[in-house]
């Protein structure tokens, strides 16, 4: 991949759930290396839809999606995307499905074909990145909300993605966990798209901000 090229290039993309009013209409978005983009917008404005389209969970009705230098359209095209673009879901209970923390973090690296030693190393590194060492054998559904969020982030980081898509990473967290997520995001080198309703939070972790409104993306100053 060309280090100077775009990580992500979306051109003229439209998406509608049914025949009615489109969620996104003729949207363009380009993300370069090291860029951190914030996304704001009302509930149901299409922020999550956009993220899900980037990893191929939803297919656009129109337009072209180019990720990591290649045009992606079929399910198979997105296999590579999903190994290099990490998506953090809104609800950590959707993301953490294994009984223990280490198994959940190991799930991604094992799918990437890593062997046992590499996987163990990935689990350890990811946990220390989010400051959750010693949580390996904890039962995922016994964790607190903040811990679940940090472990979810670890499951994404363990796959060493080039791009992070974070869907409301700070939502519903207490001030301490909130601050932890904020400083963690600042310390990460990856390019990222961060969805949030908290403009202050976005201003502190991103380099530019976009508002999703009436199916369009608009650059805003925060």
């Amino acid at each position: 991949m060309n280090e100077k090229g775009n990580l992500l290039d979306i051109q003229g993309v439209s998406f509608r759930h049914t025949a009615q009013q489109p969620v996104l209409e003729d949207v363009n978005l380009t993300i370069r290396h090291g860029e951190r983009v914030g996304l704001v917008g009302a509930i149901g404005s299409g922020k999550t839809t956009l993220l899900h389209m980037i990893v191929g969970l939803l297919k656009p009705n129109q337009g072209q999606v180019e990720i990591l230098g290649q045009t992606r359209s079929s399910e198979r095209d997105f296999w590579e995307v999903r190994e290099r673009v990490g998506l953090l879901f809104q609800d950590p209970d959707d993301q953490l499905f294994c009984p223990t923390v280490q198994e959940d973090i190991a799930f991604g690296p094992l799918n990437q074909g890593k062997n046992r030693e590499q996987t163990e190393r990935a689990v350890r590194n990811a946990l220390s990145l989010v400051g959750m060492e010693g949580y390996e054998d904890r039962i995922t559904h016994h964790l607190s909300g903040g811990e679940k969020r940090l472990v979810s982030l670890a499951t994404v980081l363990a796959m060493e993605p080039d791009v992070l898509l974070l869907d409301e990473p700070e939502n519903g967290l207490d001030p301490v966990s909130h601050e932890r997520i904020r400083s963690l995001l600042l310390s990460l080198p990856q390019a990222m798209i961060v969805v949030s309703h908290n403009v202050e939070f976005l201003a502190s972790v991103t380099t530019r901000c976009l508002r999703v409104e009436d199916g369009k993306l608009k650059e805003i100053v925060v």
């Binding site: 990893v55 969970l57 879901f89 209970d93 959707d94 499905f97 799930f107």
Partner: protein
């Protein structure tokens, strides 16, 4: 509600590899269920009691379990002897209790107690997630194992959603009564729970796909077979073979 077991602890039984425990328990259950001789059944109960002591099961929850089972057995003792034909053994309030029926009920009671004791001491002491892994390593059908693991993980979440829905109903002054309104409301509750579970399962699937899932699970957990596991395997093999042998020499006629 939580999926962790009541019977966690640190005895030698708890430290055994779960795989041979699963196998030994299943073979034991089949042998006891098929057995028709009191000496085998009584030894089975004795083995169960011994294992319960060895794994230091807490008395109260265990007694509760046994009590519930044996209350059901009381019903069997009233029903089977009075409804099966044959020589009466005795009469109670002029109702004949047949000889064969009493023996049948006694056999079932011993079997049920023996199997419950062994299941509780050998399998009830395994952390549930390890049990799932043991199934996986014993090459049980992958779909069943995954079903077991996912149930384990999401039972809590679904229960939480159920409680939340119930609470919102109560907050709007819902009081269950013998009325169509109550039945309809419970119907909606169940329906909503079903819809939510379905939607959640789609989200989980999406999250798994995002982490490179293509329909194949890779096991991460590995068990270690220690010397004590070899001792357990050998002992249980001897005991189980002894059971089968006694059953065999006692002949086809029961008791």
């Amino acid at each position: 509600m939580s999926c962790t077991t009541h019977f966690s602890g640190h005895t030698v039984v708890h430290r055994l590899d779960p795989r041979p425990r699963v196998v030994a328990t299943l073979v034991f259950a089949v042998l006891i269920a098929l057995s028709g001789h009191y000496r085998v059944l009584c030894s089975g109960v004795a083995v169960g009691a011994f294992l319960a002591m060895l794994s230091k099961l807490p008395i109260r929850p265990l007694a509760k379990r046994l009590l519930r089972l044996n209350l059901f057995m009381v019903v069997l003792f009233l029903l089977i002897p009075t409804t099966s034909p044959g020589e009466p053994m005795f009469r109670l309030l002029s109702v004949p209790f047949s000889h064969d029926g009493v023996h049948l009920a006694a056999g079932i009671t011993l079997k049920a107690n023996a199997i419950l004791l062994v299941f509780t001491s050998l399998l009830g002491t395994v952390e549930l997630s390890s049990l799932g892994h043991a199934f996986h390593h014993l090459h049980m059908p992958a779909k069943l194992t995954h079903l077991f693991m996912f149930t384990l993980r999401y039972l809590d979440v679904l229960h939480h959603e159920y409680v939340t829905l119930l609470r919102t109903m109560k907050a709007r002054a819902f009081r269950p009564a013998m009325s169509v309104h109550t039945y309809r409301t419970y119907g909606y509750l169940m329906g909503m729970l079903l819809v939510r579970s379905l939607v959640r399962s789609e989200r989980i699937m999406a999250a798994m796909k995002c982490r490179g899932f293509r329909g194949e699970f890779h096991a991460y957990h590995h068990f270690h077979f220690h010397q004590r596991d070899a001792v357990f395997c050998l002992t249980s093999a001897i005991v189980l073979m002894l059971f089968a042998f006694v059953e065999w020499i006692s002949g086809g006629v029961a008791r």
